[in-house]
Symmetry: none
Subunit: 223 residues, 2 copies
DNA sequence: TAAATGTGTTACAAAGAAATGACAATCAGC
DNA sequence: GCTGATTGTCATTTCTTTGTAACACATTTA
């Protein structure tokens, strides 16, 4: 079932829309600000579509859309625009939105557009990339069609795990390869970095799925 | 077959271009002034593409382009610019062109561009250039129908990023390619030039969209 | 069960990378 | 030579990354 994120600061509008979408059978996430929206999206990379109000407190809808598109080219974005807006503004600024709906909108129209876009995404766009893989060229990680940025150290560690092709890698080997044989510091640095990678990569960093701990030995990378 | 309108006041240039385009199999319309061009276009709404000289008697090419775009977002517009023109003029005024060709131009180049734009229009349906791309012949950048002028160094860097096709390029590779392997100066010169390009290219140079920083590595070019 | 050991988690400060702005040198055209 | 654009240098600011330390939690072992 498709996940939809509604980013809208006015509680009653948001609630209204959510109830309607749930009735249509969607899984609905919500956020009252752009910042929150981006965070929610980060935690739910399998979201199909975002309903995005333009007038938001803090960063506005356009900026949110831009930010989303930086990492995800395949997600659908529908903007909610107030009728009072200058058309040039809408024209000029729209970066990355797939559709627009003017407020006040009727809910049938909204759900119709949502269904239509979801269909388009599913058929037209390539099906949502499952799996996860390291992209050497871009020095990042592709997960479900989203790019996750990695710092140099993180990338290096993940490279090592990746090259082991699912075999467990010894902690010390990681330490030696990344920090050199004569590293004077605390070997726990490996753990800390694994933790950092997990926070970026895992759905639930405390219950890791991709980077598995091999007790008394090291870590294993399962794609 | 595709209809092309040539708006150009100098008879021999116009004739020359027309002969060439007809030989390529296009249906060619002509006009010797902006006013006439708009009239012809009005009578031939199925025209695919307009070749538009900037220096015209009466209303100039920019105004013509603007007028065309008021009514038609999908037609292709290629501007013919004289080399002698002030860059600011090119900078400030151009609205809505899809491409630029500097005079004097060679006819092969012209037909190549025409074919390319026609193809784009036919396949994409929404040819109005939303993205951004490097124009090798003019050594400039086309962004949303506007030409952005680049200095030689800037152009070279952007070329390198462009050739990488969205992959991250290492700082040192840029340094080596542009300044040579034995450059004695400060490698930060790369950063400084990137910033200069960003100031020209980005909507908000401090929150770059097109030239992305890949931390600890280099830069990435997203069109 | 308690101690020992390995691992997870978080906060913080230092180091390092990149962005920025000002300035001087260079070069091209006039 | 003058003017303006281009280019490189440098100091300063801003931001990210990175290592450390302290503590919590889990697993093993005695």
């Amino acid at each position: 079932m498709e996940k939809i994120l509604v980013i809208e600061d006015e509680d009653n509008i948001r609630g209204f829309v959510i109830v309607h979408l749930k009735r249509e059978g969607f899984i609905v996430l919500e956020a009252a600000s752009g910042e929150e929206g981006l965070r929610v999206l980060d935690e739910n990379p399998d979201t199909s579509l975002v309903l995005l109000d333009i007038m938001l407190p803090g960063i506005d809808g356009f900026q949110v859309a831009e930010e989303i598109r930086k990492h995800n080219q395949t997600i659908g974005i529908i903007m909610l625009t107030a009728k009072t807006m200058e058309s040039d503004q809408v024209h000029g600024l729209n970066q990355g939105a797939d559709d627009y709906i003017g407020k006040p909108f009727n809910l049938n129209e909204l759900t119709a557009r949502v269904h239509s876009l979801v269909r388009r995404i599913r058929t037209h766009q390539f099906p949502k990339q499952t799996g996860i893989r390291l992209n050497r060229a871009e020095r990042c990680l592709i997960k479900g069609g989203n790019a996750i940025e990695l710092s140099p150290t993180e990338y290096q560690i993940l490279s090592i795990l990746d090259m082991a092709k699912g075999k467990a890698v010894n902690r010390n080997d990681i330490l030696d390869e990344v920090w050199g044989l004569d590293f004077p510091g605390d070997p726990k640095i490996v753990d800390v970095n694994i933790r950092r990678i997990r926070q970026k990569v895992e759905d639930n960093p405390s219950d890791p799925k991709y980077i598995e701990t091999v007790w008394g030995y090291g870590y294993k990378w399962r794609k």
